[in-house]
Symmetry: C2
Subunit: 352 residues, 2 copies
Amino acid sequence: MSLDKRKVKILKAIISSYIDNAEAVGSRTISKKYELGVSPATIRNEMSDLEDMGYLVQPHTSSGRIPTDKAYRYYVDDLWRKAKISKNPNLDQLMEIIEDKSNELDEIFKNSVRILSQFTKYTSFVVAPQYKQSVIKRIQLVPVSENKVLMLIILQTNIVKQVMLRLSRPIPYNQLEKISESLSEKMYGQRLEDIDKNKDSLIKELYYTRESNSDALMELLPYLMEHISRFEEVNVFSDGITNILELPEYNDVVKAREFISFVEDKTSVAKLLQYNGEEDLDICIGSENKNRELKDCSLITATYKFNGKLIGRIGVIGPTRMDYNNVISTVKSISDAINEIISLNFNGENKE
Amino acid sequence: MSLDKRKVKILKAIISSYIDNAEAVGSRTISKKYELGVSPATIRNEMSDLEDMGYLVQPHTSSGRIPTDKAYRYYVDDLWRKAKISKNPNLDQLMEIIEDKSNELDEIFKNSVRILSQFTKYTSFVVAPQYKQSVIKRIQLVPVSENKVLMLIILQTNIVKQVMLRLSRPIPYNQLEKISESLSEKMYGQRLEDIDKNKDSLIKELYYTRESNSDALMELLPYLMEHISRFEEVNVFSDGITNILELPEYNDVVKAREFISFVEDKTSVAKLLQYNGEEDLDICIGSENKNRELKDCSLITATYKFNGKLIGRIGVIGPTRMDYNNVISTVKSISDAINEIISLNFNGENKE
DNA sequence: GTTAGCACTCAATCGATGAGAGTGCTAACA
DNA sequence: TGTTAGCACTCTCATCGATTGAGTGCTAAC
């Protein structure tokens, strides 16, 4: 038995109908709504074949049929093969919405997931990049008040991280400048990962090569180190978690709660996006997901890059019965927009 | 008919039982679980009286009774009057959790609502202060790369806001210093509100009193202005919205959805917290709320202050059947902690 | 004033019933 | 040989009535 043209047509009609209504579809519905030129009886025969082939299942004997994960996989691959995924044409417009005026990477990600879940009506995530591999360009101390100094850590990528330091006693302005310089000199070109690893020996080293300003410097150093350690924390942004309450499959509060407590756990989401293949665009349907909790969900993710290096993923999670066309094109468009924004605003690691 | 001692005892028992179980309570339950030394029949008579007095209602003739808003009001006032609200003793510990290492006000608020909803199991909010009244102390430009400059806006309160500027052409380092100085000079002591109002005339003024570096300055100015405008946006942080799914009163997805879409709307929440009286601690029970959507909810809010000036509110929203003792003391403790942190880290408007 | 006893009320539960949607099979048809 | 009309069959879902049980209100006795 093979998937001849008519079977494909019927299968697609069933999938399409089920995506729209979340209700098992019967032969009559198909023959009425989709013009196939054959009677319900014929369609019934074909549906029976499709069931044998593993594309459909019947929840119970006298109900219509619903698509299996295999059916969705076929559907998506077909869309893909025929390049039928409609491109979202408004890349510029998207970029404008996503781009943050204050140029903070975190804000860009927050905007991205917001837009993503607004467009898809599902839950969306992004894992913010970890800065392990990042390299320090310069450290600048800015006086704020008598006993407060803002420390700016400027990375090669032009990302700026800040820590506010409280001083035990004031440091004169010109001395701050000097400390900035010597800190910058010491730290220039170092990877955060390495600094974090070797912090004890670094502190010792700085201590022994002390200069006139070293007391103040030694006071500030631990703050810098602690902040660098905190860069390592995984940061996940999500949005639209409560969107699932609109879906009939989550009409049951218990089910909704299970889903929500899974996706609210940043660790599990981070894992999900982390080990999800290296493909630029990844589509994981139902039982293809490793997590048992997601066996009724599909996960569409795309990568974003920093200087050509894959660094993180953005994605949408929804029921297997999702509007793949829309979700895939939206995820793709938004990851494109993010890549564009990053390459415009944050330079490569080793350039300059 | 008056609230004699026994009636009070019974009323409190009923409220307490209903808070725990969310189920209408009957006379037998009371006589068994709470030692009152009287029979169910007697309790029934008293309950009937309490119903006449408006403290209880019966969902239907043959069910137990549930407390009315009036009952909760009595209950809370009584707790209050007798200073029975247990103080959370770990102010220091709380402060440690809430205080953010990077000293960002926003992070402090995020931590606060997180802790608040963790402790109470309800939904919590905070409205971040608007900066209208804030006064600029200094503006500092920090070079980041050839064509990027970080503009730091340092307020009298020692809050630092930042904007990343993209330059059309590089500005030499020493010129940046000069621009910082002249911008600081012009802006020093000005209220953000006033700057925002008079931005056109300010730009004009700066244009006519131009100096050698004015070209670059004029390029940067619009960015500054736009960023100042954005300070005006109300910023609401919330947490624990999905906690309500654990409550039996929201077992119905439709009800849960209604609640969630109300509290996810930042505007409505901001309004809620804004016009909610000037009391340091405010308790609004059920129908006391102006919003029809919240007629089954209670709202506990507390203020926080900047330099003695009331500036925002933090609060918890939950079912009228909430554990008032715990919620009130937690809200109070956390607002205390916030006040303490703010006064330690951010100085008053007109000091220094 | 308190309480035991009892009739009464009403929501929730359970089972039976019928309607409706949909199937599979068969036989007839092009 | 593929298609289709017809029909018996299956299973869910909604409805209805009976039953159960928690709880009340009233009355009469203590």
